[in-house]
């Protein structure tokens, strides 16, 4: 009798520990856990979003399949990081010369409220002609960012306006849509072009 009770308590104890472990897993690593940051983007083939390019064409992840892709996030009211990134990319494209013609280069706004199709068209017009500007409804932008594991956040400024914090890395995908690597914002310039070439070469490897 007494022994049974002990066994009973033991079983309950094991059960309780197992439950605690399960709850712990659920909250930390399981479906209930927070989205881990700094994750790799999924392949373009696994993404699903509908946007509009700066010429008014409907675009989505499938638009990018078949050619290597360089993509990044920003907004046209951004005074420092975005024009700098766009200028850097324009410089890399100049360095790549003809090779750049084989790439998709996409600037995706995180501020669709101010960045309309017309705004994007005017803005990208100041940079390398290969750069396309994509915008769309807020919920579609959220889906893009989710696929890229990118983040953005609207922050009010003292001037009564708002600015956007956002992922400033440049993402590189192979022609197959597979994520290759990214160029971080503060990475030395001389690392960027070889990384882009890697994404370009992956295409040829995949084809042979």
């Amino acid at each position: 009798m007494r022994r049974r009770a002990i066994l009973g308590y033991g079983a309950a104890g094991v059960g309780a520990v197992a439950l605690m472990l399960f709850v712990g897993w659920w909250q930390v690593d399981g479906p209930g856990g927070p989205e881990p940051v700094g994750q790799r983007p999924v392949a373009l083939t696994e993404m699903d979003f509908r946007l509009t390019d700066h010429e008014g064409n409907a675009v989505g992840p499938e638009t990018l399949i078949g050619r290597p892709t360089m993509a990044f996030f920003g907004f046209t009211y951004c005074p420092d990081v975005c024009p700098t990134t766009l200028s850097d990319i324009s410089g890399w494209l100049d360095d790549l010369g003809d090779e750049a013609d084989e790439m998709n280069v996409v600037f995706i706004t995180v501020d669709p409220e101010r960045d309309t199709v017309e705004t994007m068209a005017e803005y990208v017009g100041y940079f390398h002609p290969a750069i396309r500007g994509w915008t769309g409804p807020e919920e579609q932008i959220a889906r893009v960012a989710d696929g890229f594991r990118a983040t953005y956040e609207r922050v009010p400024t003292e001037s009564g306006d708002y600015t956007m914090n956002h992922s400033a890395s440049v993402f590189l995908f192979a022609a197959s849509g597979r994520f290759v690597t990214m160029i971080d914002y503060h990475e030395p310039r001389e690392f960027a072009v070889p990384k882009i070439r890697r994404a370009l070469e992956e295409e040829t490897e995949g084809a042979t």
Partner: protein, 155 residues
């Protein structure tokens, strides 16, 4: 108290000398070099200006603010990029420059954020930007406006 000298003539001469020449220094210990900015699209977006500020004196100088007729709210801001690659901007506050040291306002770091533009920033123009120091000293620099896609003072 540091000595302040009238630099009107000197400034004009240096401006004629072009970008490579150290720009106008008001308090004689502060030298501003390689100032530049990017053209704006219209007046709704904030502009940004960049430069190197050098303290050639024997005492620290503290930069406390900016004024310019071009913008109602000019302010030194700093862009920071965290470990996850997310960039954000915030006011940099007062900036102390040690004797013999310089600070760089450059893309992706410190910059003169020009909020509430009073007129569009047009490529080829210049605008005066005054740096205010905590001892009441001021340095005015004439900032050239380069193209929107400019990457540095040489573009």
């Amino acid at each position: 108290m540091k000595k302040y000298i009238l630099t009107g003539t000197l400034a004009a001469l240096l401006t004629l000398g072009g970008l490579s020449v150290p720009a106008l220094a008001g308090p004689e210990d502060v030298v501003v070099e390689n100032a530049w900015s990017r053209a704006s699209i219209g007046m709704n977006r904030p502009g940004a200006a960049y430069m190197t500020i050098r303290n050639t004196g024997d005492e620290p100088v503290t930069l406390i603010g900016l004024t310019t007729p071009l913008a109602m709210m000019p302010e030194i801001h700093e862009t920071k990029t965290n470990a996850e690659g997310v960039s954000s901007m915030s006011p940099a506050g007062e900036i102390v420059i040690a004797p013999g040291e310089s600070i760089a306002l450059e893309p992706g770091g410190l910059h003169a954020m020009l909020m509430r533009l009073q007129e569009p920033m047009t490529e080829g123009d210049t605008f005066p930007l005054t740096l205010l120091f905590d001892d009441g000293g001021e340095v005015t620099v004439e900032v050239p406006i380069l193209g929107i896609a400019a990457r540095g003072p040489e573009d």
